[in-house]
């Protein structure tokens, strides 16, 4: 069960989830230089949006083949609404304010969203069951669940679509221009406010996809699930080079694999036999972040800081 290929697959899956969430951090940062610390909670509300569709809207016994797409739509609607609402009512009024103001707002918003879900969503104060996709498949020495297949397919499709959108579409081009030079983008006739809203919405959508995958894979969700996942995804974004969408995905995968391998094998190194296992996984993940910040502060795919105008 715990062969190296299995561990690599586990890491890749976890990393894809980090990468999907990291897109939201990196796109928003790339365009408005804001670390949206409430993004983990946007991920969490996406999970509850999907859960609502499953338990309160769909009739009992709906097949998962129908339920999952509808849950994705429900989760995405909630996450996008909250992400765009946060931009419009919390961050936009603070544009031009000192950097600290939107940062504190983001942290406040993050706590507020957690508390709203904890207090008002039935049963959300502890882990709530989420429908799982638990059927397993053996591929060589690797065992994966249906939920894993959903996750990897969703991540690949979303990333490919995003890359094409940013590179080829008119709006994507406008997005790149706004990220590179917002004032000049306006001089081209680009409505930069609209571009910012789109960046938040895409981030919300990707977070909701990750949230549905999370629920299907782990079988439960709770109001605090966004905290650690958000922090890890933020780490992935920084690791890959914040502002770079390919960096976010690469950073996610690198982080997921590093964390999984470290918790599986580090205790085999002489003298480190106490430091393995799941309980140390977060320690190794954040150690990796520290190393990257020390030796390659721009991240794996980040532009050299001097290139930024």
């Amino acid at each position: 069960m715990n062969t190296l290929p299995q561990q690599l697959a586990n890491g890749l899956l976890l990393g894809s989830m980090y990468g999907l969430i990291a897109i939201g951090y990196t796109m928003v940062y790339g365009i408005v230089q804001l670390i949206n610390f409430a993004h983990g909670e946007i991920f969490m509300t996406g999970a509850f949006g999907a859960l609502t569709v499953y338990f309160y809207i769909l009739p009992d016994g709906t097949s998962m083949a129908i339920a999952v797409p509808l849950m994705l739509i429900g989760g995405a609607l909630v996450a996008i609404l909250i992400a765009v609402g946060a931009e419009r009512f919390a961050y936009r009024p603070l544009r031009g304010a000192p950097r600290l103001a939107p940062l504190i707002t983001a942290i406040g918003l993050s706590l507020a969203l957690q508390e709203v879900v904890r207090n008002f969503y039935p049963g959300a104060d502890r882990a709530r069951a989420f429908p799982g996709l638990d059927a397993t498949h053996d591929i060589g020495s690797i065992t994966i669940k249906d939920a894993d297949i959903f996750l990897i397919l969703a991540a690949v499709v979303c990333m490919a679509a995003l890359a094409i959108f940013v590179r080829r579409s008119r709006t994507g081009r406008a997005m790149q221009a706004t990220a590179q030079d917002p004032d000049t983008a306006q001089l081209m006739g680009i409505d930069t406010n609209r571009i910012i809203v789109i960046a938040f919405a895409i981030g919300g959508f990707f977070a909701a996809v990750a949230a549905v995958a999370y629920g299907l894979k782990y079988g439960n969700v709770d109001y605090r699930m966004g905290f650690l996942m958000g922090l890890k995804a933020f780490t992935a974004a920084v690791l890959g080079g914040i502002g770079n969408i390919y960096g976010a995905m690469l950073g996610g995968v690198v982080l997921g694999i590093a964390e999984t391998l470290a918790s599986a094998y580090i205790d085999e190194i002489p003298g480190m036999n106490q430091l393995g296992g799941q309980s140390w996984a977060n320690v190794w993940a954040f150690c990796l972040l520290i190393l990257v910040l020390l030796f390659r502060p721009q991240g794996l795919l980040g532009e050299r800081v001097a290139d930024r105008a």
Partner: protein, 238 residues
């Protein structure tokens, strides 16, 4: 007939500091009008206000018969006012071709856009040779050409150029000035901000000298070129 651009008693402030203190001038269609003056005179602030990046505290701007107050920057371009900003501000990580396409962001006529991109390459052949290259790899002068070409892509009724010769070698400066002269001969209306007063005034139909937020002297380009106070202050004569 009213002028294409009319500015009346325009005032602009950064917080408590007033950078433009009530200036009035106009630009007729087909004219080249220049604003000259030292750093901090308020020339760039004036252009940034005209294109909507800054909000005036008071005064009237009308362009092509329509008031510009309250119109956001991205809609002003659509009215036919293009701005090539100070410091060029090309998009460094996009290619030259992509930069030019962004200049035509609001246009829908694909064929017309292609034609105008070709025109920009004819005007500045170096841009055509490097069309697939990231704009950030161009030299300063080439970036200036790109910024001008990009501004022209919106088919503006009025082209505003802010310090097009800034930081360029004398040869490159001559080239840029020659291009502005060529655009003028093709009938392009231009509002030119320059620190190279000699070159700007030789080209201009009308010139205004700005000092600390005010227009202190106005006249035809030739008049100002021969004005003694202008020669002393801006053309480096004793």
């Amino acid at each position: 007939m009213t002028a294409l651009l009319e500015v009346e008693d325009l005032r602009v402030s950064y917080g408590k500091i007033e950078a433009v203190k009530g200036i009035s001038f106009s630009v007729e269609a087909g004219q080249v009008v220049t604003l000259i003056g030292t750093n901090g005179a308020g020339k760039t602030t004036t252009l940034r206000t005209l294109s909507g990046l800054l909000k005036p505290t008071s005064g009237k701007i009308s362009f092509d018969g329509k008031p510009l107050s309250g119109v956001p920057a991205h809609k002003i371009v659509a009215l036919g006012l293009a701005h090539s900003p100070e410091g060029r501000h090309i998009f460094p990580r996009l290619t030259i071709a992509e930069n030019l396409q962004l200049g035509a962001f609001l246009r829908k006529d694909k064929e017309g856009i292609e034609k105008d991109i070709q025109r920009a390459y004819d005007l500045f052949p170096i841009l055509g040779e490097r069309r697939k290259q990231a704009a950030g790899t161009l030299s300063g002068g080439e970036q200036q050409m790109l910024a001008m070409g990009r501004a022209l892509m919106s088919q503006p009724k009025l082209l505003m150029l802010d310090e097009p010769s800034m930081g360029l070698s004398p040869i490159m400066m001559q080239k840029i000035m020659a291009t502005i002269a060529e655009l003028k001969s093709q009938g392009t209306t231009i509002l030119l901000v320059e620190q190279n007063a000699q070159a700007a005034l030789s080209l201009a139909d009308q010139g205004h000298v700005m000092e600390v937020g005010n227009i202190v002297l106005s006249g035809t380009g030739q008049d100002l070129l021969h004005d003694e106070s202008v020669r002393k202050a801006y053309l480096g004569e004793d």
